[in-house]
């Protein structure tokens, strides 16, 4: 028992940033629900989770290259591309819908793979390589959808953006009014999707040799190389996974809005917000520390802060300013480290 407790304490100590992000999210969301006139209701939870899915996926996408010590400036563009593809192919018969989803996710993943190949075999800096491939992705998205619009199957839109009850009811899987189902039927489907992907894809991946290698590269690439770890494979995998997560975000955005929109400004804004979410979630931009679950929490924190503007009476014109200040303060909190450092040299990279 004592062993377990000290293990937990060590875990807490090593992941201060992660646990404080969770604490902050819980506190923020509790207060939000208390202030909200219809707080603690399923409707609010469903709406909030719907509005958070895209940025959560993008934050997770951004995390993987950041763990390498790199950066992926194309995640927003890949999301936009996936969004536009999905608005073309996710409709028709159930089989066609499933196929459309697979095509969407596969395209995003393939684009991530290309990023990885360029970074590894082209030996370009990730930040500049993905800046360029991002432009290509947005260009392709514009080819597919020069004007916003598109058509996504109504049933799937409805089923995936509501609670479990509606999901079961829409597809008539079983009697949605069954007694045992009542206890979980309020859970929003988007929340479930995010949790499933985060825990079903990221956590198993993190435990593989490739996953551990990503962390090793972020800490010390030279050491990772000398230890015989598969550097190239890990880098390619990191960007591929980023492409996959970004495509998930784009697919969900298409399902949620029933349309595709190749908006360059929006793609850029999502990319930049994903970096912010990664930092707020406790992942170091220098690489090697953090994880996608933290970024999930970080993205939710940023979203909840923006939800506050709806219930707190604040001049809408001041809203972007407050958002910016919150972001700036949040990222500057890490500066306290500079006060604790004993050796000045540790401050420099």
């Amino acid at each position: 028992m004592a062993d377990k407790r000290s293990a937990l304490a060590t875990n807490m100590r090593q992941n201060v940033a992660f646990y404080s992000a969770i604490a902050m999210l819980v506190a923020l969301y509790l207060v939000y629900n208390m202030l909200h006139p219809r707080g603690f209701s399923a409707a609010v939870l469903i709406q909030n989770s719907n509005e958070s899915v895209a940025i959560v996926f993008l934050a997770m996408a951004q995390t993987v290259p950041v763990l390498l010590g790199g950066l992926d400036l194309s995640v927003g563009a890949i999301m936009t591309l996936a969004n536009c593809i999905a608005s073309e192919v996710v409709n028709g018969s159930p089989l066609q819908i499933v196929l459309g989803m697979i095509i969407t996710l596969a395209t995003g993943t393939a684009f991530g793979l290309v990023n990885g190949l360029i970074v590894v075999y082209g030996r370009l800096q990730p930040i500049i390589a993905t800046l360029a491939t991002g432009a290509v992705a947005v260009g392709l998205a514009l080819f597919i959808r020069p004007v916003p619009g598109g058509n996504v199957d109504d049933d799937i839109s409805w089923a995936l953006t509501n609670d479990l009850y509606e999901f079961v009811d829409t597809y008539g899987l079983f009697d949605a009014d069954a007694g045992w189902f009542q206890t979980i039927s309020w859970i929003p489907v988007p929340l479930l999707i995010v949790v499933m992907i985060a825990f079903g894809v990221w956590l198993p991946f993190k435990r593989t040799v490739t996953g551990r290698t990503i962390y090793a590269i972020g800490s010390a690439e030279g050491a990772a190389y000398m230890s015989g770890l598969p550097i190239d494979r890990a880098k390619i995998a990191a960007f591929t996974l980023a492409g996959f997560f970004a495509a998930c975000g784009g697919l969900y955005l298409a399902i949620q809005t029933s349309s595709g929109n190749a908006d360059i400004t929006q793609a850029g804004a999502y990319t930049l917000n994903s970096i912010a979410a990664v930092v707020v979630g406790g992942t170091s931009l220098l690489g090697g520390v953090g994880g996608a679950i933290g970024s999930l929490v970080g993205a939710l924190i940023l979203r909840v802060i923006s939800f506050y503007f709806r219930i707190v009476s604040i001049d809408p014109l001041l809203q972007p300013l407050v958002e910016g200040l919150v972001l700036l303060v949040a990222v500057s909190l890490g500066a306290f480290r500079t006060l604790r450092v004993k050796n000045q040299l540790n401050l420099f990279r």
Partner: protein
């Protein structure tokens, strides 16, 4: 001067290839116009000067961006620094318009530099935060609309008049270029930027006050962005929301295409100049071809990637 003789070859390669690519762009464009319209407007001095005039805003932003990139940092706040400077300049108006705009840029640079150098927040995220704060400030200031104040006569003169038959914006760009090039090459501050960009610990241990170098560089970048913003407002006669947004990524691309290492410590100003001209001409050829936005983005990205694959590759994995 002895400093760059050993690395002369590798440092020159990007410039030679980029210049060659400029010629390729020009000849493709000329062949296109000759075959469709039977004329070669691309080669007329008047057209080229006009392109350089619109390119001078990008050129000035890129000059400041290069100084920061040489340190291994990046300034993502240039977009709204430009807009903020332009808006404050048109709001103040009169003879204080331009000094106000420049002062806004210097102030933004100070904040950026403070955050990056003293608080040690990664520049990527700190300048991003400053960018969104500036956007918030400007939305609060203007109410989200395009401000009604118009640019002062001096701003218009600087941006759109001609002097000796050459657009005066080009002279401003030239002046900024000379200042930055001399600063990087001939002053202690310039050399300290390269040293700090190569290895900050070593620079610090050699007695360079690296924090001040970083602070100063961000101020230079802020001032350049502000100057470009003020001139852009003069060019379009007024400031408007998001006017700086289309300049951020091309500025970074121009610097990198010009052979400056994105990790810092290596690069020459002439390269950035060539990079800007390349991007400006690429854009103008694509608009002559009436390329839709989709094709432009794809070509734009592919050009950057392929240029870098030719000469921007890093070293093989090291022990």
């Amino acid at each position: 001067m002895a400093f760059d003789i050993p690395s002369l070859k590798t440092e020159d390669k990007p410039m030679v290839i980029a210049s060659a690519f400029i010629l390729v762009i020009l000849s493709i464009g000329t062949v296109y116009t000759l075959s469709t319209q039977g004329s070669a407007p691309l080669l007329s001095p008047g057209y080229l000067l006009q392109q350089l005039q619109t390119g001078s805003f990008l050129g000035i932003v890129a000059a400041g961006m290069m100084v920061v990139i040489l340190l291994g940092h990046i300034d993502l706040s240039v977009a709204w620094t430009m807009t903020a400077a332009a808006m404050m300049a048109t709001t103040v108006g009169g003879e204080w318009a331009i000094p106000t705009g420049i002062a806004v840029g210097a102030a933004v640079g100070l904040v950026n530099g403070f955050g990056v150098a003293y608080l040690r927040v990664p520049s990527m995220i700190f300048t991003l935060g400053v960018d969104s704060v500036l956007r918030g400030l400007m939305v609060a200031h203007t109410g989200g609309f395009a401000p009604q104040d118009s640019a002062t006569p001096l701003m218009r003169t600087l941006a759109s008049d001609r002097f000796l038959g050459i657009p005066s914006a080009i002279f401003v760009w030239l002046a900024v270029s000379v200042v930055i090039a001399v600063m990087l090459k001939r002053t202690a501050f310039g050399r300290e930027i390269y040293v700090t960009g190569n290895r900050e610990v070593a620079a610090y241990l050699s007695g360079i006050r690296t924090r001040r170098v970083i602070l100063g560089s961000f101020v230079v970048s802020g001032i350049c962005a502000a100057l470009a913003g003020v001139m852009l407002a003069g060019y379009s006669a007024r400031a408007y929301q998001g006017m700086g947004n289309p300049f951020l990524l091309p500025a970074i691309a121009a610097v990198v295409i010009g052979g400056t290492r994105i990790l810092g410590g290596q690069g020459r100003y002439i390269g950035t100049l060539i990079g800007v001209i390349l991007i400006v001409l690429l854009n103008s050829v694509l608009s002559i071809m009436q390329m839709p936005e989709a094709g432009r983005q794809v070509i734009y990205g592919s050009v950057i990637i392929s240029m870098l694959l030719v000469y921007g590759r890093g070293n093989k994995v090291h022990s």
